[in-house]
Symmetry: C2
Subunit: 464 residues, 2 copies
């Protein structure tokens, strides 16, 4: 393919491509709300018809929730295969009164498209579709085989599509899997996201005496659930070093390589500036790591919620008979969420002993994921972003979890490149979500360039 | 006076005295509810008229809330003076549907009077009034000068009456001050309560970043208010020893004397039985003290409420930007609530440092109070209870706080004897409050016997 022609195609068709995205964004495909079921299906159909117009074979894959879409354009057995991910469903829009304009009436202002889903994830994956269109129309044929897997329940039952992946293993076969569901750190630095942390969440409930007790009468005599809980928590993480104290927690932890530490240090990140922006006096960190590393390349433990006793106005001298905490651990390769859950559960039960009754509920888990910064697929992504945006691309690590990514990596055995086009200020999951027009069009160019890069690797790296 | 005659008077007038209490209990004197203001005044008037019928001079003392009552029958400058305390107001009655019969329609069943206020405190202080009546009618004249101080806002603004005490200092002058607002440990052991703990309550709020943050993105980077809070808590009390870690906390603490430890050990208290009754596997205690001592004679710290982050159904990967805890400390002589508050406030601020923003709100305080088990007034109380109930009386320590008691001790400089007639199962502040008829009538006999005991001390101990 001819990349210049593909870029020229995008420039020439700019208004029509933006209009297509706007139509897409007009569909209120809120997967969490039953009354929008038809809209979610319509959004999936919008992608399906578009991809069919580009010569893709499509299939709708039922799941326990909203069905997803699979699409494929096979060019040649001699070319590598790129699998592209996206999701058509969006978050709810409450509180509606905080939106400057209605969430499903997209408008363009200040160089941005304002609408629910503009970034997450309609805008981001539609940029990929447009990139494929440009590669095709600008070059005559695609430089690689291309497949799409598109979810329609990511914002609601996040695991519905993942659950059906294993049974489609053969169809999903690919050399590299591309996800556009992440950010640049700022508008001047296009970026590849190198890693995601895994997650294991749980809730601990500690019960004491049969009912609330008067704290004057019983203070000093009864073990107090709040007290037992805070003691459990202090034994799960050392506050001063930031080290998790659960036995075996670090056993399977891969230390980040010097290359990875160097790669993520490319990012413009000044602790004092970040602290100021977050409204705090200083940042925390795990001993031996920078705050940025602690929040991305290192595992950690958070208490996401805590409650016990009397929490209303004024004061009640009560010993509440229950206290609970919601806890999540962020994991890195090769920590296994199930094994980690078993360790923390055992430790909590051991700590509580006969000082109370403990109930532990396991919430969802996600696997961690790391790319190798030296991977040819990552390097290809950096080159594609650089040429598309005209600025040198960098590498990032992400502290959050996208469980679908490592699951698809597991099913396909392929490399994964997270090439997202968003910005931190796009207001994901919030009122006034937006996506810069330049990132939509630049993203489309990067998607086309990436296909060209991967296509060119066929000769050099050979087929898997 | 002739005690046998006084007891015979109570026996002979039993039904009429119970009927008087029942009429008193029919008045819905809920001080917390504005619409019952007239009822509260009517209840106070009920006591006033009764005491006037017994030849008492009465005065109504205005306070910032409901007015209280002062009454006095002066017999002779050569006799000691006993000041008796009570309150006519009662707790609200919600939830009404849990009452077996309407709270202000007293009925007698299973040997108990069932009604709101039956024990707390109408029944208990009316027993004292009946005791005075019996001493007078059975003996011709009272064996001591007697004064009453009766609150009408104890269950609402608990400090309204205390606030006016200093300006009535001269009128309140007495040798001993008697409070019937406590319990026997069980129906077989009439008891004097030797001590009350003081209290200092506060709320700590820790604020982190400007708004809730995604715990994937920021976990490991930001100090988390819940985490800072549990670290503060772990530095305020050592979980394993039960020792409070606030600097200086124990500086002014009086160790209980061997006599006091021995006195409270008279109480039937088997740790394993108490644990079973409370629905727990074992009791806690401060190192070096029994659970009973830890809950009565030793100071301690409780977290009465804690809240932070997401506490609803399911899970949210959020770092809440605020966490708060309600904390109370129970104090013993000679700890000073104000000094203790200053120490804990200083320590909390030092611990939080620049890891968050801290706000500390001081709630109410109460002074601690201890009687000497060897005091002649306490010994007189034990004899009075023993003769009235026909069972040997013992001594107790109480873990809770009744701020009015040490305040009145401070104002009068008098001894205090806590001679309550309730039982642990009387359902104070709860549905189906009740008071055994035997405890009402026995309490009246004990009150009469106590006046005889104190009157007899005049010659031996002399006037103060």
């Amino acid at each position: 393919m001819n990349l210049d022609k593909a870029f020229a195609y995008i420039d020439a068709n700019q208004q029509r491509l933006i209009d297509e995205l706007i139509h897409f964004l007009q569909i209120p495909s809120i997967s969490a709300h039953k009354e929008h079921d038809a809209d979610v299906a319509a959004a999936l159909d919008y992608d399906r018809r578009k991809l069919e117009s580009l010569g893709f074979m499509t299939e709708v894959w039922p799941t326990r929730a909203h069905a997803g879409l699979f699409a494929e354009r096979h060019v040649s057995n001699d070319l590598p295969t790129v699998l592209i991910y996206g999701h058509v469903d969006v978050q709810p829009v409450d509180p509606l009164n905080l939106w400057t304009s209605p969430p499903f009436e997209p408008r363009i202002a200040d160089g941005k498209i304002w609408a629910r889903g503009a970034d997450d994830n309609k805008g981001q994956h539609y940029a990929q579709i447009v990139g494929v269109e440009a590669a095709l129309r600008g070059g005559g044929e695609l430089p690689a085989n291309v497949k799409f897997i598109i979810e329609a329940d990511e914002e609601h039952d996040g695991e519905a599509m993942a659950a059906v992946l294993p049974k489609h293993r053969e169809k999903l076969a690919c050399d590299v899997f591309v996800v556009s569901d992440s950010n640049f750190p700022d508008r001047d630095h296009p970026a590849i996201t190198l890693s995601l942390r895994g997650i294991q969440a749980l809730e601990v409930t500690i019960t004491g005496a049969s009912g609330d007790k008067h704290s004057g009468e019983w203070g000093g005599i009864l073990y107090e659930p709040i007290d037992v809980l805070r003691w459990v928590l202090q034994n799960l993480k050392d506050f001063e070093t930031g080290r998790v104290l659960v036995p075996g927690f670090y056993d399977d932890v891969d230390a980040p390589t010097p290359a990875t530490r160097a790669a993520i240090a490319q990012r413009l990140w000044v602790d004092a500036d970040v602290a100021r922006a977050q409204g705090v006096k200083r940042l925390s960190h795990e001993v031996g790591y920078t705050p940025l590393e602690s929040g991305t390349l290192r595992p950690t433990l958070q208490v996401n919620g805590i409650q016990g006793g009397y929490t209303g106005e004024g004061f009640k001298t009560v010993i509440g008979n229950q206290a609970r905490a919601k806890i999540s651990m962020r994991l890195v390769p090769r920590q296994n969420p199930e094994k980690i859950f078993d360790s923390i559960e055992r430790r909590i039960r051991e700590l509580v002993g006969d000082k109370g009754t403990v109930a532990i509920h396991r919430f969802g888990a996600g696997l961690p994921f790391w790319s190798d910064p030296d991977s040819p697929y990552v390097q290809a992504g950096l080159r594609a972003l650089t040429v598309a945006f005209g600025k040198p691309a960098i590498m990032l690590a992400m502290g959050g979890s996208i469980p679908f990514v490592p699951q698809l990596v597991q099913v396909t055995g392929a490399s994964c490149v997270m090439m997202g086009f968003g910005l931190p200020e796009d207001n994901l999951h919030a009122p006034d979500e937006n996506f810069p027009v330049a990132n939509f069009l630049g993203g489309a160019k990067a998607a086309a360039a990436y296909l060209a890069e991967v296509g060119a690797m066929a000769g050099a790296a050979g087929r898997k």
